[in-house]
């Protein structure tokens, strides 16, 4: 240990010992990044109202309070449905758009891309009240359709970025070969291009699902009543007091999100990219 401290860390003069502060600080920052979320998991199994760590008494009471509550269950259903429909709607739209922009090689494609990516740039609060205002006029407030449309708008840029970057590494000459051998444009896309960017499309769909499922601000304004989303209910509960039921819900969300992301990592062939 002592020898390691005196060893030089780089080809220049500095030793590991002189850099010890850097190592300690870096590890502390990494721990602080990860730990808070992980601590919630054991705490959600605590029996006390004031979520202790380590829990003095273990219990499933917060999970019970979640699963036996009609309003939490209804909100979870709404969120899952909205997220699923958002993925189903935004993935093809965004894939089409990314492909169209890529293949047409338009001179002004940059401006179109900018417009399509705008939902990522405009402050969400502005989008939230804008959509709310429009939905009041269109009578879409608190409707599933309205929620899915708004979430799809937010998800399209995300999917476009993922699929677009896959298309940039794809050799479009392959499609030209297919076309010269008699395939129609649609056949060429479906049978040559799509199988090769499949992994990115699936990743895009998962990200679209998560975009909708995690979305808070727009949901806050345009979802409500029977179509209130999980995030909306959680946010409103958080503003009032620290409800331990949310620890249980958080743990479940972390578990489901991790599973989904692990799935996308292993679902696709390693070859792509």
């Amino acid at each position: 240990m002592k020898r390691w401290l005196q060893q030089s860390a780089t080809d220049t003069q500095i030793t590991h010992g002189a850099r010890l502060w850097l190592y300690v600080l870096a590890v502390v920052v990494m721990v602080l990044l990860v730990l808070p979320t992980l601590l919630v998991i054991p705490m959600s199994f605590s029996a006390s109202q004031y979520l202790e760590f380590p829990p003095r008494q273990w219990s499933l009471r917060w999970y019970q309070s979640y699963f036996s509550s009609t309003s939490w269950m209804q909100a979870t259903g709404t969120s899952l449905k909205a997220a699923l429909m958002t993925a189903v709607l935004s993935t093809p739209l965004a894939t089409m758009a990314a492909y169209g922009l890529h293949a047409s090689r338009l001179r002004h494609a940059k401006w179109l891309t900018l417009l399509l990516l705008a939902p990522m740039v405009v402050p969400v609060i502005l989008i939230g009240i804008g959509v709310f205002y429009a939905y009041v006029k269109l009578k879409l407030v608190n409707s599933m359709l309205g929620l899915v449309l708004a979430h799809s708008m937010l998800a399209i840029p995300v999917v476009m970025l993922v699929v677009g970057s896959a298309l940039r590494t794809f050799d479009m000459d392959q499609e030209r070969v297919a076309r010269s051998l008699g395939a129609s444009p649609i056949q060429a896309f479906m049978r040559v291009t799509l199988p090769q960017i499949k992994f990115s499309v699936v990743t895009g769909a998962v990200l679209a699902f998560l975009t909708s499922f995690d979305e808070i601000i727009v949901s806050l304004f345009v979802s409500g009543g029977a179509n209130s989303t999980l995030t909306r209910n959680m946010f409103n509960a958080l503003r009032d007091q620290v409800d331990p039921t949310i620890a249980a819900i958080s743990t479940l969300i972390v578990a489901v999100t991790s599973l989904l992301l692990v799935f996308t990592q292993f679902a696709g062939p390693r070859k792509e990219k």
């Binding site: 780089t10 220049t12 003069q13 850097l22 870096a26 920052v29 990494m30 721990v31 990044l33 990860v34 808070p36 979320t37 601590l39 919630v40 979520l51 202790e52 760590f53 739209l93 089409m96 758009a97 492909y99 169209g100 338009l106 417009l115 399509l116 705008a118 939902p119 990522m120 740039v121 405009v122 402050p123 969400v124 609060i125 502005l126 989008i127 939230g128 009240i129 804008g130 959509v131 205002y133 429009a134 449309l149 708008m153 399209i156 970025l161 677009g164 970057s165 896959a166 444009p185 808070i216 304004f221 995030t231 946010f235 958080l238 503003r239 620890a247 958080s250 969300i253 972390v254 991790s258």
Partner: protein, 294 residues
């Protein structure tokens, strides 16, 4: 060049194909136009209407004259600035560390940076709320260890807001900064050492300037995202830290004042776009937006 017999037909089919490809963009574009561009444009229009419906700049004027708006903007600026500064303070050493260790180890450490990005924002905010509350983990441990006697007010104030926002924003600083540090050719540092520069001098004169683009990109992203941040400040600030976004939401939810909310939103959007344009001058924006996919 003499025209081949089929030139015209070929050109026409090429044109049709191009139109078809552009047509593929239409559905997504339409959705974004209808659910974002039009509504936000409508808000622009509402912001220049008086309560009676005539054209007026009263909402902007009030923003200028009423001191409470000044406070809101000051809070927003303060939180954004402090968050950016704290992120740099914590993120720079972390990135430096990550860029100095072997790549495989660094990739493993990057999980710590990426994991929060993948976790729901509400879950992370809730986690801090639980840890920082009066009878939360941090106060309990602090008292047990004798660091302080009374429970500290760590949440529902500026402290809590900053802890939460720094935690959420740090990955956005680390990603561009780390990749620009990783790209630095270490031979420059060897050359500096060879020419007699000590570690500090070669860091400051060689490494730091080379890592500057990543630092500027990261800091600007964090600052821009902070300006429009709503959720974490609203929860961890507990109504005491009113940033522009919270104010907009309050104007709508409590006062139904569309004009005032729209005007604030317009100012927020203009600030965001101006900062992004400035950022675009300094660094290429597509590397920022498309950086993760590569």
């Amino acid at each position: 060049m003499t025209a081949l017999p089929n030139t015209r037909e070929l050109r026409r089919s090429a044109l049709f194909e191009r139109l078809g490809l552009i047509g593929l963009v239409a559905p997504a574009l339409l959705l974004i136009l209808v659910t974002m561009v039009l509504p936000v444009g409508w808000l622009f229009y509402l912001s220049v209407l008086s309560d009676s419906g005539a054209f007026s700049l009263e909402h902007y004027q009030r923003m200028w004259e009423h001191p409470s708006y000044g406070r809101t903007f000051w809070t927003t600026f303060q939180v954004s600035f402090l968050t950016t500064a704290l992120c740099i303070l914590l993120g720079y050493p972390l990135c430096y560390f990550l860029s100095e260790i072997p790549k495989r180890a660094a990739n493993l450490c990057m999980i710590a940076v990426l994991l929060p990005l993948w976790t729901s924002l509400l879950v992370r905010t809730y986690a801090w709320l639980v840890l920082l509350q009066r009878r939360g983990l941090i106060n309990n441990w602090g008292i047990e260890l004798g660091l302080w006697d009374e429970p500290l007010a760590l949440v529902h104030n500026l402290t809590g807001t900053l802890i939460g926002t720094v935690h959420v924003m740090l990955p956005f600083l680390v990603l561009p900064l780390y990749s620009s540090m990783r790209a630095i050719d270490r031979n420059y540092l060897r050359a500096a050492a060879n020419l007699g520069a000590g570690p500090l001098r070669s860091f400051w004169l060689v490494f730091f300037p080379l890592a500057m683009p990543g630092l500027v990109t990261g800091a600007l992203i964090v600052f821009i995202l902070c300006l429009g941040f709503y959720v974490t400040p609203a929860v961890l600030g507990g109504g005491k830290v009113i940033m522009v976004s919270s104010r907009i939401a309050n104007d709508i939810e409590i006062f139904f004042n569309w004009g005032a909310a729209s005007a604030l939103g317009v100012v927020l959007l203009v600030l965001t776009v101006l900062l992004m344009l400035a950022a675009g001058r300094l660094v290429r924006m597509d590397t920022v937006l498309g950086g993760q996919g590569k």
